[in-house]
């Protein structure tokens, strides 16, 4: 038999190959046997893997990577900002609710992912009512703290006890006022869990001399992000406690090193300066340098922590069946951004605020990508009645910090 007549085993199916292996004359055609065995190995390997895949993930997911874009510009926003600011002052603050809506709309609607922009849906009247209640509560708290220290303690405790509820309500308002592709975000309230996360865990962390604090921070973030929904889809953060410890420790150490070196330099400078000028000026000099040092430590530590945690939160969070996220905030660039922002504001006595806001939003948008799953168009909106802005404003004015950025 001629070698050229050898059958083309590569076109055989796996079953036919096994059959051929049984039937073939092994001594007469050792080369063919070898060929068949090679083909069996080649054919069975991928099939086995794909069978395994089918057990775990029905279809391999296809993602489309989309850059987040911020399209606003400082000059355009400045004119909006300054006119609204004037109207707010002239109306003794009443117009501030309308100004807030316009400002927020500018930020939301200039944020674009995959050719679609966000919408800000809050109405000025909702914000105005919330703001009035917030101011009243603040005034009551202030009056109480003046009339008697005892009353101040009581009101502080009361406010402290309401923090979890306020945070939930504020988050809910903020999420429900945000829409993308005509589908609203939402925040599912869970007051019981909120009390555990915002009151119990931080108090427990206190007893560990703050050793458990990063863990408590992680629990707070987990609570906030896991309760966000987009239409009928839920956010699924998969946060790691270790990341929070790394972020806290690195930020803490960096802050301490700067404070230490800065303090050392300051003492040196002050000793030099006090030899050449009057005592009054030295005190002022110490005050200013202390403030600058404080601001610098604050910027560096804050930026390190924020960059670490933001990247971690985005990179480990999924919107089920819709998208996952990438964040790549560089610590050095964030520190530079914050420092230049501070300088700009001080040098212009606050007039650079619009540029500060625009460049900050641009910075974060540029560092963020969204990977959208193919065919993720079918998110069903989950609409119910509108929320009031009360909680949002109350928590704003009492400085309850729930930064999602």
């Amino acid at each position: 038999m001629n070698k050229e007549e050898s059958p083309n085993f590569e076109q055989y199916t796996l079953e036919e190959l096994h059959q051929a292996l049984l039937e073939i004359d092994h001594q007469a055609y050792p080369e063919r046997v070898e060929k068949i065995q090679q083909c069996i190995a080649a054919k069975s390997a991928p099939v086995e893997i794909s069978q395994e895949q089918q057990l775990h993930t029905p279809e391999p997911k296809q993602y489309r990577k989309c850059q987040v874009n911020f399209l606003g510009n400082g000059k355009e926003y400045f004119s909006i900002w300054i006119v609204n600011l004037l109207l707010t002052i002239v109306t003794l603050g009443i117009y501030s609710a309308w100004a807030t809506v316009r400002n927020n709309r500018y930020f939301y609607s200039n944020t674009e992912i995959d050719g679609h922009r966000f919408s800000y849906l809050a109405q000025p009247k909702q914000i105005l009512i919330g703001r009035i209640i917030g101011v009243l509560l603040f005034a009551i708290f202030y009056a109480a703290s003046v009339i008697s220290p005892f009353a101040a303690v009581i009101t502080s405790i009361l406010i402290f006890c309401f923090v979890p509820v306020l945070v939930c309500m504020a988050m809910r308002f903020r999420m429900r006022m945000t829409a993308y592709r005509n589908v609203r975000f939402n925040f599912t309230k869970n007051y019981g869990r909120a009390y555990v996360v915002f009151l119990l865990y931080p108090i427990l962390a206190l007893f560990t001399f703050y050793l458990a604090y990063p863990w408590a921070l992680k629990k707070i973030d987990e609570f906030l992000y896991s309760h966000i929904t987009y239409g009928n889809k839920q956010m699924k953060p998969n946060l790691q406690t270790a990341e929070y410890y790394v972020a806290s420790i690195v930020a803490g150490i960096a802050g301490m090193i700067i404070a230490f070196i800065g303090g050392f330099l300051m003492i040196g400078t002050v000793t030099l300066a006090s030899e050449s000028s009057s005592s009054g000026n030295t005190e002022v000099l110490v005050m200013i340098v202390t403030f600058l040092l404080y601001a610098f430590v604050f910027v560096v530590s804050g930026s390190i922590y924020q960059a670490f945690i933001r990247n971690h939160v985005y990179n480990s969070t999924q919107l089920e069946d819709v998208a996952n996220f990438n964040s790549d905030v560089k610590i050095g660039s964030l520190i530079m951004l914050r420092l230049t922002n501070l300088l700009m504001l001080i040098c212009t006595l606050g007039f650079a605020m619009p540029w500060v806001k625009v460049r900050t939003l641009t910075f974060f948008a540029n560092a963020t990508q969204v990977n959208i799953e193919e065919g993720a168009e079918s998110v069903i909106s989950d609409d119910s009645q509108s929320d009031s802005a009360i909680a949002d404003e109350v928590s704003n004015i009492f400085d309850v910090d729930i930064a999602i950025g």
């Binding site: 400045f78 004119s79 909006i80 300054i82 006119v83 609204n84 600011l85 004037l86 707010t88 002052i89 002239v90 603050g93 501030s96 807030t100 316009r102 709309r105 500018y106 200039n110 679609h116 922009r117 603040f138 005034a139 202030y142 009056a143 003046v146 009339i147 008697s148 220290p149 005892f150 993308y180 592709r181 005509n182 589908v183 239409g231 009057s278 005592s279 009054g280 000026n281 030295t282 005190e283 002022v284 005050m287 403030f291 604050f298 804050g302 914050r338 922002n341 501070l342 504001l345 001080i346 605020m353 806001k357 168009e377 079918s378 998110v379 069903i380 909106s381 704003n396 004015i397 930064a403």
Partner: protein, 350 residues
């Protein structure tokens, strides 16, 4: 009639379709879509987002969906025929922007310099005396529990001085009838005196020692404190700091992170300016009242000199800006000026 490209997001899901929107002069519009039956709509019936910068315009049609249209001149003009765009006209008018740029700092300055103090005076007048009394008592109780100890001055001095001052205050033309003068020992406070809004005035032993029990020097300080009570400074300060904290928290409220530090600094500086103004008022009250009791305004200058020996006179402009009290040097000058005015008045009478 014109046609324009638009994005159509049908209600109920996140899907999006590219459509051609037909706009008619009458304010009617319509479009063909794969999922929704074609129909005529009128602008007036639907919620249209205001023009803001160059943002695309949104038309929300209830139970049908959302239309998003690029903000072109043609489309904006068409919408403007049926919907007022006054705010956008303000925001895009160069004159208005330049005017705002100057008007914002000016109005803010006027607000803090005149409107807030004026409102604070009105507020101080309507606070009932009962509330003032409770507040004062609670404050004194707290201070006594923390940094004030019973006086260690000889009781003859305390009795004599209190009696002398009671008589003196009776001669003064004041609205307040009740002044309670107290002496307390306080290492923490050092040489100091302070007034509570109900008329309680506290001197520290350390101040009496610093003035070497000089009754006239102490009287000049007493009159300064009486000035605080008379002008209801505590209540005014509360109102002023409350308003300014609110205003500043509004401006810095939505800025996160390090910018809050700036907000804090601004609040402190603003509030310090308020207290400085009030200190000046109290100083001038004392300088006016001293002659009516047959005492020289120069006494207050002497008292401040003693302070200066203990604490330093204070330095330049920046310290003046950052401190809660006027610079001692300036207060001495002010008192000496009052003395001169008094002298020249006396001379011209001769």
């Amino acid at each position: 009639m014109f046609e324009i490209e638009a994005k159509f997001y049908p209600s109920g899901s996140s899907s999006c379709q590219q459509i051609q929107l037909k706009c008619y002069d009458s304010g009617m519009f319509s479009f063909d879509s794969e999922t929704v039956e074609s129909k005529d709509y009128y602008i007036a019936d639907h919620n249209i987002s205001d023009k803001l910068g160059n943002l695309p315009r949104e038309i929300a049609i209830k139970e049908v969906g959302l239309l998003v249209v690029e903000s072109t001149t043609e489309f904006d003009t068409w919408l403007a025929q049926h919907k007022s765009e006054r705010l956008h006209k303000f925001e895009s008018n160069k004159k208005m922007i330049v005017a705002s740029f100057f008007a914002v700092p000016i109005t803010l300055y006027l607000l803090f310099k005149f409107a807030v103090p004026y409102a604070a005076v009105a507020f101080a007048d309507i606070v009932p005396y009962g509330a003032v009394k409770i507040a004062s008592k609670q404050t004194l109780d707290t201070l006594e529990a923390t940094i004030l100890d019973p006086t260690e001055l000889p009781s003859e001095f305390v009795d004599e001085t209190t009696e002398y001052w009671d008589e003196l205050l009776y001669q003064l033309d004041t609205e307040h009838l009740h002044f309670h003068i107290q002496f307390r020992n306080s290492e923490t406070m050092g040489a100091n005196a302070f007034a509570l809004p109900d008329g309680t005035i506290v001197f520290t032993d350390q101040l009496v020692e610093l003035f070497e029990q000089d009754r006239d020097l102490l009287t000049s300080v007493l009159l300064h404190e009486v000035g605080h009570v008379e002008e209801k400074h505590s209540m005014r300060l509360i109102a002023e700091t409350l308003v300014s904290s609110l205003v500043i928290s509004y401006f810095f409220g939505d800025v996160s992170g390090v910018l809050e530090v700036l907000g804090g600094v601004t609040t402190t500086v603003t509030n310090n300016q308020f207290t400085q103004d009030l200190e000046w008022e109290a100083d001038n009250f004392a300088l006016e009242q001293l002659p009516t009791l047959g005492l020289e305004p120069k006494l207050f200058a002497d008292a401040m000199e003693k302070f200066a020996e203990e604490y330093g006179k204070g330095g330049g402009k920046l310290e003046e800006f950052l401190s809660s009290h006027p610079l001692v040097r300036q207060r001495i000058e002010n008192a000496l000026n009052a003395e001169e005015i008094k002298e020249s008045a006396v001379q011209s009478q001769d």
